[in-house]
Structures are given as structure tokens and as C-alpha cells.
């Protein structure tokens, strides 16, 4: 089912883009936390991306990606009006959103393109009536994502940059630590989505405060439909599958070291594919 790109916005030129896709069937049932599996062309690889936003009225979903490997490179080469060959979903379990009465608050932390996935979850918390504090971080102000989108509904948006070019100088966990200290037990839940080291750091931090923490994992997947087991992770000593048991898990229980290692399963082949892509992308487009 080829899926049309209705709108493309280059958030960080050459690195990260946002696509709004015409996908009414997916939009109709997608909830925060869900992901889709995409395949760009006939020879493409299936890969998962978390849904960053949905618009049920217009039948669209939004995805945001970091150009990293060949598949995201090919996605980046598509323009508005063109089609992605396969988009399937919504997959995974939706975020479990509890309503917390004031003065309880929820902190939603995002790093890298994880900010986009976090955006959908933060929106879910907001719509459930929760007080939402968004914490987003990047190396510098040009790499910050979704600040404007988050400020549309979040009660607070806190920013950190490594170089201090926007918000507070430092890393995003510093923002979280400050709020955990200043809120004195009012933080009911922390949600963290982003690079594995960031999610691990947040989980390590909140463990000391005994605050429930949800992380959204980006495991490798093949079918994404609960068949292959590529996305297995260890959570609380048990084997879980990100595609059907997740993608969200209790951050205090996830074996992050194993997750990081498994994410590198195909590092050699990924480098090979990138090189191959550089040499052959013209020919492939012609084919």
C-alpha cells in the first residue's frame, strides 16, 4: 500500500526530517507509543519508526527520522508528493497513560529524534489531563527538535544544550535531576525516549528517587509483527519482545547494556550497505 508524503520538513538539513503521511487507516487507530514499519522500495529493508503525531481528522501520521543508514538515506531522498512503498501499523502496545491529579506532574524527556516520539506520548499525557513538563536536550540550539510543537500543549518546556547556545548548558538529565529535587515527590512518572545512553542515564537517575520510569526502546526488527524475535530484550530478567510486548518498558528493569550490544548486530553490514548505496544510488533509482 504505497503511502504518499503530504508534507516534508527538513528539521536539521541532511540529518533529520519530518514527514506527514497520508495514512488514514493507521491514523484512525494509532495511539501514543505506537510505531509503524516502513519499506522504502522493492529492495528495501523493513524498519520501525515511532509515530510522532497523528491527525485523525485529516487521516495523517507524522514520522521523524535521523538519517543514519541506507534505509533512512533513501527515505530522505523522497520528496513531497512521492510515495513510500510500504507503511504498516499501528504496531506495538500503546503507552499506558494514567491520570495524576494535581499537584502530581509527569516529566517527558526526549533526546535526538526521540523527542519526536516523546511528543506523541507527552500529548497523550496532556490529553489525559496531566501536568506535563517536557525536557529536551541537544548538542546545540540548531539540533533541538520539536520545541515549538511541545510548547503548544506542555505546561513547561525545559531545554538543555551541551554548549549552552539554548536553555541550560549541560545534559538533559541535569534538567530532570533539578526537577526531581525541587518538586519533592510530586513527579508521578518520568518518560524517556532517545538514544540508549540517555534513557539509561535517566533510568539510573530516577531509580534513586523511586519514580516510575517508562522508556521506549528502538530494538532492531524484521517483521515487527511478533514473529522473528530479533527485537528481544531482557526486562526484569525475562525475555521480552519490543514489537509486541513493548516498545515501552519499565526503565528500571531494562538491560540497557544488552540492548546497546544487540543494536550493533549488523554494524559491518550497515557500513557495507552505506558504501554500496553511495556507489549505486543512481542505478537503483533508475531500476
Amino acid at each position: 500500500m504505497p503511502t504518499k508524503i503530504l508534507h516534508k520538513e527538513k528539521l536539521i538539513p541532511g540529518r533529520t526530517s519530518k514527514l506527514v503521511l497520508d495514512a488514514p487507516q493507521i491514523a484512525a487507530t494509532a495511539r501514543p507509543g505506537h510505531f509503524v514499519i516502513l519499506r522504502v522500495d522493492e529492495r528495501g529493508e523493513r524498519f520501525p519508526l515511532t509515530i510522532a503525531d497523528t491527525d485523525k481528522e485529516h487521516g495523517t501520521i507524522t514520522i521523524v527520522y535521523l538519517v543514519l543508514g541506507r534505509s533512512t538515506q533513501m527515505l530522505e531522498e523522497l520528496e513531497e508528493g512521492q510515495e513510500i512503498l510500504d507503511v504498516c501499523g499501528p504496531l506495538g502496545r500503546a503507552t499506558c497513560i494514567e491520570t495524576f491529579a494535581a499537584p502530581k506532574k509527569v516529566i517527558c524527556v526526549g533526546g535526538g529524534t526521540g523527542v519526536a516520539a516523546m511528543h506523541h506520548i507527552a500529548k497523550g499525557h496532556h490529553e489525559a489531563g496531566n501536568y506535563v513538563i517536557a525536557c529536551i536536550g541537544a548538542r546545540n540550539k540548531d539540533l533541538l527538535l520539536f520545541e515549538k510543537e511541545l510548547s503548544l500543549f506542555c505546561d513547561e518546556v525545559l531545554v538543555s544544550t551541551d554548549d549552552g547556545s539554548a536553555g541550560r548548558q549541560g545534559i538533559v538529565t541535569d534538567l530532570v535531576r533539578d526537577r526531581l529535587d525541587s518538586e519533592g515527590g510530586n513527579i508521578a512518572e518520568v518518560v524517556a525516549v532517545g538514544p540508549v545512553p540517555m534513557m539509561q542515564a535517566v533510568a539510573d537517575l530516577t531509580r534513586g528517587y523511586n519514580v516510575p520510569t517508562t522508556v521506549s526502546l528502538n530494538s532492531l526488527m524484521v517483521d515487527g509483527l511478533g514473529m522473528c524475535g530479533a527485537c528481544r530484550v531482557t526486562v526484569g530478567g525475562q525475555m521480552k519482545f519490543t514489537c509486541v510486548d513493548g516498545p515501552e518498558f519499565d526503565g528500571h528493569q531494562v538491560d540497557f547494556a544488552e540492548l546497546r550490544s544487540r543494536l550493533g548486530s549488523f554494524r559491518t553490514q550497515e557500513a557495507q550497505a552505506r558504501e554500496h548505496h553511495r556507489c549505486n544510488c543512481f542505478e537503483r533509482k533508475e531500476a
Binding site: 500500500m1 487507516q25 529492495r43 529493508e45 541506507r70 524484521v222 511478533g226 524475535g229
Partner: protein, 465 residues
Amino acid sequence: MSQEVTRGAKIPRHDMPCQAPEERIRNFNEVALGYTAEMAREEATRCLQCKKPLCRTGCPVDIAIPDFIAEVVKGDIDEASRIIHASSSLPAVCGRVCPQEKQCEGRCILGKKGQPVAIGRLERYVADHASAEKMPEIKKTGRRVACIGSGPSSVTCAGYLARLGVDVTMFEGLHEAGGVLIYGIPAFRLPKDVVAHELDGLRSMGVDIRLNHVGGRTVTVDSLLKEGYDAVFIGVGAGLPHFLGVPGENCIGVFSANEYLTRVNLGRAHSFPDYDTPVAPGRHVTVFGAGNVAMDAARTALRLGAESVHIVYRRTRAEMPARGEEIEHALEEGVKLLELSAPVRFLYDEENHLTGVELQRMELGEPDASGRRRPRPVEGQNFVQETDLAIVALGTRSNPLMLDCTPGLKLTEKGYIAVDENGETSIPNVYAGGDIVTGAATVILAMGAGRRAAQSIARKMGLEQ
């Protein structure tokens, strides 16, 4: 009759012509090349045409085996095909992948003293050589049925109903239709064009196949019934793989057979990097399990260039559940068996890459509930097998994706969908069949279930007695 008996018993069973092992491990083309007309005829004359054919009782869908074989003797392949099609929708598939030695051929009277009639090979011959069936004029009934999944059970159900004039829509979650026939069974055992031919047949009968539609997600049973489908058939197949549960299983280099085969069969990883899906190229491969999927994985690894492939099994070759032909083909190709060995833990280097597996020697004790002798460990005889790619082929459990999202659907103790003798679930007008009902089983059983459900649906609609 007596003359025929002598004839049948005297002619030796025809071997299947195959690609030579040293040749075929360098390609993904079909290994078994199929009988010639002469071989088929001669093999068919071996059939004794028993008055009470035991072969039929061994066939899960009760194909009139002696009748179709008699037509092969006469040379009327189209009539033979018509006879098979009265009971089976996918003879080109089943002739290739059915475990005949446990079914029809296992009951053949000739097998008592010598070699049974090669029923599977004859079935394949008929399927491959019959002229295209002339499609009778289909009168539309205005009835609509949704089939979720596009594997053997759904294909059978859809085909049966489409012939009766039902508008069938088939929903497939993956980007290619065919289910296990596409992502699971390798092309060297079941060429993709055989499957494509069956699916084209469905399309020509007006079946609408929608890809990237995940049952339970993109479409739900509830949404389909509300949309006006008169009945829904759930044939979503098997789910998550079983793992061994030994330490080190999540290191880099341990795959489920599902993942390994899906990467190659669906993702065309054998053509990486022209295709984008990668697969780990193992040098010393170990495969755990001894069913058909284990054989498929082992033989795929050879074709991807492995230097050595060992199948590790707790019991011995005699107890292996795979089809005899698959085991023979694997051995001919150079796959080695490590019998009476069970994994204790996987070993890996500082970068978490698999380097070996510690195995424990086993011996066979008393028979268990399955009648097979139970393996038990021999203490103090552990050894290490070097391996950089391990493939776990221990079967699958039910897939939660569909079940979680279908309130009111009654499950069995093991988590599969509970159905009555007509294939109907606890939700009226919702049917199910195949692996999601039985647990991992065979193509022919799934097909039989799809057919049974289709018949019940047709009866309910008043389209059949």
C-alpha cells in the same frame, strides 16, 4: 489384478531427479527437479489400486489418491488434477512440502515390505503439468468474507469461497502475500513462483489481497464485521519463536530460525547489498532443533557460504521430526549432525559476539508421552563446539498481536484460538484455522482447516448443502 500386484511390487520406486549437491549449495533454485512424464507414469503403475486404500486414511484432507494415480497411468493429467482439487487447493505446494512418509506414503501397503508409491512426487507432477483449470463462470452472491493472513489456511478458505461467488478480501500484515510459504519455506524447497501462481489464481477469481494490513491493528475482527463482512476467517499463523533459555542466548550471532529465514526468504538477504536486508554470514554454524525448519535454516546457511553447519539435537537421527527427504538432502549437502547433544550456554567474546556453545552429552532413556525415548544428560561430558552463528529452531508459540485485540475470542489453555468442529470461534461468524489454532503444524493441516471453515461459512450462507 494378480498381474498388477506383481508389477507394482517388482518395479522399484523412482528416485526424484535432483540438482547435484555440490551444485545446489551454490544456488537457491529448487533442489528436487520433478518427475518426467515417463517416470510419473511408471511410478503410477506401482500403485496396487487397493480396494480399501490405506493411503487415503493417512491423508489429512482425504484425497482420492488411487483414483488420481489411475489417471496418471492413463496419461489424463487434467483429470488427475481435477480429482486432487476436489480435496486439496494447493497440490503444487503439498506435493513438495507434505510429510508424506508420516501420512499417505506411511500407510501405503507397498511400504510394508518395500518402498511405498511416491504419492507426493506424483501429486507434484500432476500439479505442475495439468493445464490451467478452466474457471467456471462465477455468479456473485453479494456475500463478503474477510480472511486475515495469507498463508495456506487463508488461501484455501479464500479460494473455496471465491469459487462460490463470495467477495473475499484477504488482509496480509507483511509486504508480500503467502505467509509461511513466502517468509518461511526457502525457495530451494518451494520456489516462489509456485506460490505466486496460487495467489494469481485467487486474484483472477476476484480475491482482493491487501498487503501491509495487520490483523488486530490496521483491521480488527470487530471493524470488519461492522464494515459489513458476513464472516471473518483468522489464519494468522504462528507467532514468537521459542528460545532455548540458556545463558548467552542474546549475544550477537544467535538468531531464531524465523528471523534468519525471514531475512533471507522475505528480505532476499542472500542478495545483500543489492537488497538492503542483511543477514549474518556464519562460518561455523550451529542449528538447534531437528524439524523441517531446522533443516531449512541449516541448508540456507550452507548456501550463504558457511564452512561448516552442524545440527545439534538432544536425541538421534531416528527421532528427528523433519521429513526424511529434508534430512537426506541436508546430509548430502554436507550438513553434519551432532546427535545426543544439548546446549548448556553460549560463549561470546568481549564485544558480545558469539564464539562457541557449550554442549552436554545426552543418552536416551525411557520413552516419553510422545513415544520417543527421552534424552537425559550424561554428567561430566560437556564439550565446546566452535560457532559464530547459532540458529534456534525450536518451534513457535501463538502470536499475541491478533488475540490481544479481539475481545470475546476464547483461547485454549496453550493460548491458541479455540474453535468448534466447523472451525468457528467463540464469536459467531468468526472462524479460525491453521497454526493459530493448532500450534505449529503442517501446510496440509492448515489447508484442511481453511477448507473446513470455508465449507461451514458456505453452508451458513446457504451456498452449499
